[in-house]
Amino acid sequence: MIEIFSLSTGTGSWNPVVWLIALAVAFIVVLVIWATGERSYRREGGAAAPFLSGNAEPEKGEVQIRAGNLYWGFTEALSGYYKRLVPLHTGILNDYVLWFLGTMATIVLVLAVVR
């Protein structure tokens, strides 16, 4: 029964059905733990409000993080790579053709001349 759903990859196998069952079991365990929690807890009345050193909590819309700065650290760390890579995407049609023909020339050299 298990074998029917197992995907063999030559060196191992992957069974999504077993994985889903495991996920369901884990979910039930989480549910059980959650159910044993304190029932008198209330979200209202400031219990869930953040404490920002006594300052007023800003509007949710103002502190919403938009997409642009989410991976700033990553691009900054790899700036040497990005400084070389991004300017290659010039957007000029001649360059597109040049890259295409250049790659073709390289592959022709490898396949037909060097062999």
Binding site: V86, P87, H89, G91, I92, L93, N94, V97, L101
Partner: protein, 114 residues
Amino acid sequence: MIANLPFIAVTVIALIGIVVILTRKNLVKMVMGLSLIEAAVNLFLVSLGYRNGGIAPIFTNAPAGEMVMPTVQAMTLTNIVIGIATTALLLSFVMLVYRKYGSADAGVMRRLKE
């Protein structure tokens, strides 16, 4: 040597086309370069079909002898038709780009980059 003349012409025309595409920034000229390459490919195909002493495959009043295979002519014709379609499409793109951007220059047509 004389048999290779068409292929030399093919190379020359194709090279002119490639140089035009790579060095000219005017989009109309780039489309012209593309048409030159297309013409070179057509000439190449037609030259492939040449057989010394062969007879054109037209049955009407043909002399007796070996007829050549008309496959390359069919291919060339198809490519001409396709070429007309692509050239018309690309030229209408150039017209629209010129109207919207105020220039038909590949250096100006680069709002999409990076």
